[in-house]
């Protein structure tokens, strides 16, 4: 295991691949050995890409890889696809869109099956990110499974989330719903050559504007066009969206609604620490991933957002929050693991019978089981790191 970790840190592709396999299989020795990566951690920028199935996440990832490579950055990709709840098998097809980068030594692509996790990424994704980080990848792109409305685990592992939407998925009520729409740091409307793309952009912008107002405790007044008036107060990047316009100008946008906002560019940021993260209005960009239109602007927005995150201290706050979450996850995973031990399975069985025969109720039995687990956990031997 020591050799494997050492080879990973040296960037050996086979070692990285093998270690991820062990982590995916829940190999306790491999997890215990991860501490050796800690001196090589925290360098990579972790970008999540999420959105509904077929939105173009993989194709967008493919084009983004090219953008990052043109800047000389090494890119690791973790592409998650769903596992069958029936057979446990999976078809991992994200890689198909990115195979053009297969022989580039500066790109490592790994497909992960969700293996029963329902939050859009797999249980091992966080650990796999750490491995790629330590192996020297500057960017780690994490593509989630095609998500619906509430699979938001990506926000727990990524420094920033690119939320990919497409025209035709619903009206503005979908846009203001809770869940997935709350986690985007950058919004992308892909397939922007399709009818309705500008409408989706406007709806998302209106939602984001409203969100920013509510966060500041203000009463919303007016629509997206009031953004221009308030622009100087906000740290927003909407100006980036103007960098690219669709070639076909047949969108039926309301006249005069050109969204030509004279927003301050990210270059004119206030002093560090003086702005609250809540005031950052995420940019909304249009792309056509298939042709690559708008992807350069997206890459620019990503770097710009990272700059903002670092400058405002938000990156540290997010990473700390992520670590807190991972710690919680680790503890619940440990408890699940302990419960699979024979002595605890027996205790669970015994308590279940007591509840069944009405000698106990399920809550006091649960508390009794919990105490047994804690006692067992204290005496349970962990593999030594």
């Amino acid at each position: 295991m020591y050799d494997l970790i050492r080879c990973c840190i040296e960037g050996d592709v086979r070692a990285v691949a093998r270690l991820i396999t062990l982590l995916e299989s829940g190999d306790r020795e491999a997890y215990a050995a991860l501490y050796r990566l800690k001196d090589h951690a925290g360098r990579a920028q972790v970008i999540g890409i999420t959105g509904p199935p077929g939105a173009g996440k993989s194709t967008l990832a493919d084009k983004l890889i090219a953008q990052f490579r043109s800047r000389g950055l090494k890119v690791g990709v973790l592409a998650v696809d769903p596992s069958s709840p029936f057979s446990g098998g999976a078809i991992l097809g994200d890689r198909l869109r990115m195979q053009g980068h297969a022989t580039d030594p500066g790109v490592f692509i790994r497909s992960l099956a969700a293996r029963g996790s329902l939050g859009g990424i797999s249980k091992a994704t966080h650990a796999a990110i750490r491995v790629l980080d330590a192996a020297g990848y500057d960017i780690v792109l994490v593509e989630t499974v095609g998500v619906g409305q509430s699979e938001i685990d990506i926000v727990r592992v990524a420094d920033m989330v690119v939320l990919v939407s497409v025209p035709g998925l619903g009206d503005d009520i979908q846009v203001i719903k809770a869940g997935i729409m709350e986690i985007g740091d950058i919004f992308v409307v892909n397939k922007a050559d399709r009818d309705g793309a500008d409408r989706v952009v406007r709806e998302i912008r209106a939602m984001l504007e409203l969100q920013a107002q509510l966060k500041r405790g203000q009463t919303p007044e007016g629509g997206p066009d009031t953004l221009a008036a308030r622009a100087p107060e906000f740290l927003h990047h909407t100006g980036l969206a103007e960098g690219w316009q669709p070639k076909a100008g047949n969108e039926s946008g309301a006249p005069g609604e050109k969204e030509s906002i004279t927003a301050p560019k990210p270059g004119v940021l206030p002093e560090a620490g003086t702005i609250s993260a809540a005031l950052i209005i995420p940019p909304v960009l249009k792309t056509i991933a298939e042709t690559g239109d708008g992807v350069k602007e997206l890459a620019h927005a990503i770097f710009s957002h990272f700059e903002t995150l670092s400058r405002t201290g938000e990156l540290e706050r997010k990473r700390l929050e992520s670590i807190r979450y991972q710690l919680g996850q680790f503890v619940s995973n440990e408890i699940v693991h302990l419960m699979s031990l024979p002595e605890l399975a027996a205790a669970q069985d015994e308590l279940a019978h007591k509840v069944f025969s009405r000698k106990m109720d399920v809550y006091s039995a649960g508390i009794a089981l919990f105490h047994t687990i804690i006692e067992q956990g204290a005496s349970h031997e962990h593999p030594q790191a």
Binding site: G89, G93, I109, A113
Partner: protein, 134 residues
């Protein structure tokens, strides 16, 4: 803790047709395996590089164009060069009977022609893995 069997299904060369590859991918999925499908028109270099990054146990190559005698052995050769001899390689597609002994001599473990029941391929994979599952 048991690993999942991971399989790369690839179409080397210039075929424009991948129905068979998708059928086998689907059958392996239903047998509980994790199947990475890399799509059409792959070079042996792309296939082997993907197989290593994905850390697969098995590569299934499907070919209809007639270039199997060149492309199949090339994949095995590249795996050897990369130190990944522990990957099981099988082939399928339209392969004449008389070519099969040659392909086997070049390290292709088995060749499954049209009409092979998918259960036969699944059994073959499970029985011939070169890496233990735990």
């Amino acid at each position: 803790m048991e690993r999942k069997i991971r399989v790369l299904i690839a179409k080397p060369g210039l075929d424009g047709h991948d129905r068979g590859a998708k059928v086998i991918a689907r059958a392996l999925r239903d047998a509980g395996m994790e199947v990475i499908y890399t799509g059409l028109r792959q070079t042996p270099e792309q296939i082997v590089s993907a197989a290593i990054q994905e850390d697969v146990d098995v590569i299934g190559l499907s070919i209809l164009s007639g270039a199997h005698n060149h492309l199949f052995p090339r994949v095995v050769e590249l795996l050897k060069q990369s130190g990944a001899e522990d990957v099981l390689v099988f082939g399928g597609g339209v392969i004449p009977e008389e070519d099969i002994p040659f392909l086997k001599s070049k390290g292709i473990a088995e060749v499954f022609g049209p009409g092979t029941p998918t259960s036969k391929t699944i059994e073959f994979i499970r029985a011939n893995l070169k890496r233990p599952l735990n």
